[in-house]
């Protein structure tokens, strides 16, 4: 029986004291392995979970509401705050939606740079996953090793755009900057060094008895569950369904690149861990190809669409009409045509897409961010019952959810 007062409000209609011998425990929202702000209400029978209820919303910032009150270019830096582990993926997903709505073509050099940044972000995100997941399960040294490599990758991002976490490195219609001098050399150094590091992680973990005991057959997601819950990314491929948006619905340069989509039919955390490692190797492969492609492009970085995109700086400074256009686009914002667009992209977490309804105004009439982690949090209520309390941490880590995009 609860006794609510002003400081202890009535708590979620939950009876913490029961007549039967199950116990209700509150997991999070400040638990270190809750990956941010996840609160799980777990009903336990002994050590086994009988019922799980994910409670989210502790990081809600109303980003979809903010999108309705900002011009399109203004909103782009806000998307950094969705999946803050791999910000460029969010920037890109938003930019791609608007570009499809405007029907503009992005110059090739910008495409190469964007694809590079996307894959670099995938590596950053996967290293982060590996570090935190291993830390949750109890492997401390992997955390330090993986974060070291992630620092080098973030240094590359910093060299390109000046930011380490909130990149805003993509613009609607292209990228703002060309690669700085020597960046490709640093990138080559990084991707030359990374495979041996990945081998180090795999040597430490893949055949490790403790690691296998903690991960194998834990967090089983059946293919039916994965489809029904709208899982995407590695949660879907870890259940044996081969669907990668980069391959199946290619955007940017992915149709020209040669890479494989690893899948696993183990359906458990171990299979998903293996996929993360394989995907990092594929990203390295993609980055190598992109370095070659970069040198074959000319220097244009932003699309030529005077109605929507400002002209290059030289033109703004020399031509009156370009300056006028720039002034209107900055003060009033671009006005895309009326219509609806949903552009799916493969972010490191899964299918990230922005649904935009435009009514021809400079402000989006409705913007819905389809965040993969939102559904991967939801599936916890179906996969946790029946598992042990100690495995809950493994399963949360294995879904790789980021609360910036769950709560939005």
């Amino acid at each position: 029986m609860q006794h609510p007062n002003k400081l202890r409000p009535f708590f979620e209609n939950l009876n913490f004291e029961r007549d039967d011998n199950t116990m209700v425990i509150n997991f999070g929202p400040q638990h270190p392995s809750a990956h941010g702000q996840l609160r799980l209400i777990l009903e336990l029978q002994g050590e086994q979970v009988v019922k799980a209820l994910p409670d989210i919303g502790y990081l809600h910032r109303g980003i979809e509401k903010m999108a309705e009150n900002m011009i399109y270019n203004e909103f782009l830096p806000t998307t950094d705050r969705l999946d803050y582990i791999a910000s460029t993926s969010n920037n890109y997903a938003f930019a791609l939606s608007v570009e499809r709505l405007l029907d503009i073509e992005v110059p090739r050099r910008a495409q190469v740079i964007r694809t590079m940044l996307l894959e670099l972000n995938r590596i950053i995100s996967h290293l982060f996953f590996l570090a935190t997941h291993a830390l949750d399960v109890g492997a401390m040294s992997i955390f330090l090793y993986a974060f070291r490599e992630r620092e080098f990758a973030m240094d590359l991002m910093e060299d390109y755009c000046g930011a380490r976490l909130t990149h805003s490195a993509v613009r609607i219609g292209g990228v703002p900057l060309d690669l700085p001098d020597g960046w490709l050399t640093s990138l080559t150094d990084f991707i030359d060094r990374l495979p041996e590091q990945i081998k180090l992680y795999e040597d430490l973990l893949t055949e490790n008895r403790i690691w296998k005991m903690r991960l194998e057959d834990v967090g089983i997601v059946t293919p039916e569950q994965a489809l029904s819950w709208g899982c995407s990314g590695i949660m879907l491929r870890g259940s044996g369904i081969k669907y990668d948006i980069r391959k199946e619905e290619p955007y940017e340069l992915y149709s020209e690149l040669d890479f494989d989509i690893p899948i696993s039919d183990r359906c458990d955390s171990y299979g998903r861990y293996r996929l993360y490692m394989e995907e990092m190797k594929e990203s390295i492969k993609i980055l190598r190809q992109l370095i070659g492609m970069y040198h074959q492009t000319d220097s244009q970085l932003m699309a030529h669409a005077p109605k929507y995109i400002s002209a290059p700086k030289e033109e703004i400074m020399t031509q009156n009409y370009a300056l006028m256009q720039h002034f209107v686009l900055v003060t009033q914002g671009m006005r895309p045509p009326k219509g609806t667009v949903y552009a799916p992209t493969e972010s490191p977490k899964g299918e990230l897409g922005f649904f935009i309804r435009s009514e021809g105004e400079p402000y989006a009439y409705r913007l819905k961010c389809r965040a993969p982690s939102f559904f991967h949090t939801g599936i916890l209520q179906d996969i946790l019952p029946g598992t042990y309390l100690a495995d809950v941490v493994t399963i949360i880590g294995s879904t790789n959810i980021v609360f910036g995009e769950v709560d939005r």
Binding site: I56, E68, I241, K338, G339, E361, Y363, R370, F374
Partner: protein, 263 residues
């Protein structure tokens, strides 16, 4: 005269619009693709199909709200749309008194996407698609939370992102961006009670405000200049008011400290 601001849509609007400017429409094409034609046929056989066209590579189907289960079931079982990737609503209350609900479907074998659109009145409920897709357990809760759209036969229709005792639906166009009165006093009311509103005072949202007694952000204390004045022109080496006297005990004043002035 005061400028008219509509109350049913408080979203930000363009300040200037050319009187003669007509927004173009994204092209809506007839489905040319064999697969899309088959989908349109299959869905129009099972439900009343109001409209169908292809918009930016995705097939759009308009259906009646009562037919949502049937249409999605046809799409899932007969057309191979096994994933419902997103579901939410759009607020058209100001224009038509309606919500538009969209279901974003994906066929992973054909690599095609279909969007199912339906419109409901403000107080009309929609049938839950949880029997077809588990993702609706979360997505429909979010729709209810953000728009106040009731979903019939949902197993656990509660607020998901906002607190349980929240009032108002944040993504409706009538809800202001900075929140309504309830939102601004939510914590105060909940923790201390309504009677403490005057004691605690409203939340300060003016980012340019300088609080000279703020012990956290004191970088600009004593360096305020009048509006429009050049900061360099004002002598900022000295604090304009001797506020330290009000709070600090000056121990250097001397030993003859008389507590009672009558002595």
């Amino acid at each position: 005269m005061r400028k008219y601001t509509p109350k049913d849509n408080v979203q930000k609007r363009a300040k200037y619009t050319d009187r003669f400017w007509v927004a173009p429409q994204v092209p809506r094409l007839e489905p040319e693709d064999e697969h899309f034609k088959a989908v349109v046929d299959a869905v129009s056989k099972s439900v009343n199909l109001l409209d169908s066209y292809v918009e930016i590579g995705q097939l759009v189907l308009h259906i009646e709200p009562e037919a949502n289960i049937d249409a999605l079931k046809t799409l899932r079982d007969d057309c191979g749309y096994t994933i419902c990737s997103e579901l939410s609503a759009i607020d058209y209350l100001a224009q038509d008194g309606e919500f538009e609900i969209f279901y974003q479907m994906l066929n992973i074998n054909e690599r095609k996407r279909v969007r199912v659109l339906t419109r409901i009145k403000e107080n009309q409920a929609i049938e839950s698609i949880v029997p077809l897709f588990d993702m609706a357990k979360f997505a429909e809760r979010e729709m209810y939370d953000m728009f106040g759209i009731y979903v019939n036969n949902h197993p656990y229709l509660k607020r998901i992102i906002m607190p349980d005792d929240w009032e108002g639906y944040p993504l409706r166009k009538t809800y202001p961006l900075e929140g309504d009165e309830f939102a601004s006093w939510y914590e105060v009311d909940k923790i201390f009670g309504k009677e403490y509103r005057d004691v605690i005072g409203p939340e300060i949202r003016d980012q340019a405000r300088v609080d000279r007694y703020d012990t956290q952000r004191f970088a600009r204390v004593g360096k305020e200049v009048p509006f429009g004045a050049d900061p360099d022109s004002v002598d900022t080496t000295q604090t304009p008011i001797e506020y330290s006297d009000q709070f600090l005990v000056n121990y250097n004043k001397g030993p003859h400290k008389t507590l009672d002035k009558r002595k």
